[in-house]
Symmetry: C2
Subunit: 184 residues, 2 copies
């Protein structure tokens, strides 16, 4: 398991994709929906003995978490006071803590499955989630992108835009949008 | 393999879903993209020995083809002449022929895979594709919906709307949008 941090600007690492390898990027965040998506992925896309035409597949799951961009000082702090010194540090610490907490929750989810044959990597990005996800999918040469779907209402969707809509237009690999059933 | 015909108005059959069964609806049309999506589904979602936590899964693939709605007489035939009698019949015959041809192509695709353990059903709907697909997914109690993605440009998408965008908002089950790589 490796951890790497990168922003939307680009990733320094280059990864070679082998034919028999499959790299599944699962975009995760604080939501129940994304944990359900990870669990769906483990159940449906990965199976211990998965063989297709007698070719065994080496699966790698890349857990991708995107931290929100750092706060914009101008809009949030007209007095130049609030974000001075230790407050900035506290917020960054909180953001790191959140990233760790999401990764830990994801770990709990995949530990519930028999994943001895699956490689898990963790990546943390920073910036606008939809852009960072699309850039990461490209750079990681992902074979599938899996993400949860927040069932926003019309107005919230109109305001926030849908990350999955954006990704479905911009990523080149197959995209799985997993909705969490009401009773799960 | 059963064939059934139904429109967007509703389906008469009722199907009980068992816990260990998985019903995968693959929306197919004349496009290469949808055949690629079917092939992706067979490679990635279905594997002969797929076992999750020692529960074997009975997979059913439902091939869903939606015929375009019958032509609107008023808009296409201001003279009341063109669509009289045998022309209508010819067009309906053509539409049926198209449906058969799509189903036959799909059959060729899944025959290339070892699908002895997979049940295949064929359904033909009629009407506006995106509505019919969403209604069918609900009625069939699908566990996954798989569809190809046409890489329309901005204007065509703005005019036609995206079937996959609509489905991602309206179906309750996970949706897989498969893009065909440029070199496939």
């Amino acid at each position: 398991m490796g951890e790497a941090e990168y922003g939307s600007g680009g990733m320094t690492m280059t990864m070679m994709k082998k034919n028999k390898d499959r790299r599944i990027v699962v975009a995760i965040d604080e939501s129940e929906e994304s944990m359900y998506a990870l669990s769906w992925c483990l159940t449906n896309l990965l199976s211990q003995e998965a063989k297709t035409n007698n070719i065994s597949i080496n699966n790698t799951i890349v857990l991708l978490y995107v931290k929100p961009p750092p706060p914009a000082y101008s809009s949030m702090d007209p007095t130049g006071y609030l974000f001075a010194g230790d407050v900035v540090e506290t917020m960054e610490k909180y953001s790191r803590g959140l990233a760790n907490s999401v990764m830990n929750r994801a770990e709990e989810v995949y530990r519930g499955f028999n994943t001895t044959t699956i490689k898990v990597e963790k990546k943390i990005g920073s910036g606008d989630a939809k852009n960072v996800i699309c850039v990461a999918v490209e750079k990681l040469a992902a074979d599938v992108l899996v993400m949860g779907s927040h069932d926003y209402g019309f107005f919230k969707r109109a305001l926030l835009g849908s990350v999955s809509d954006y990704c479905s237009k911009h990523v080149k690999c197959p995209l799985v949008v997993v909705k969490r059933p009401k009773n799960a």
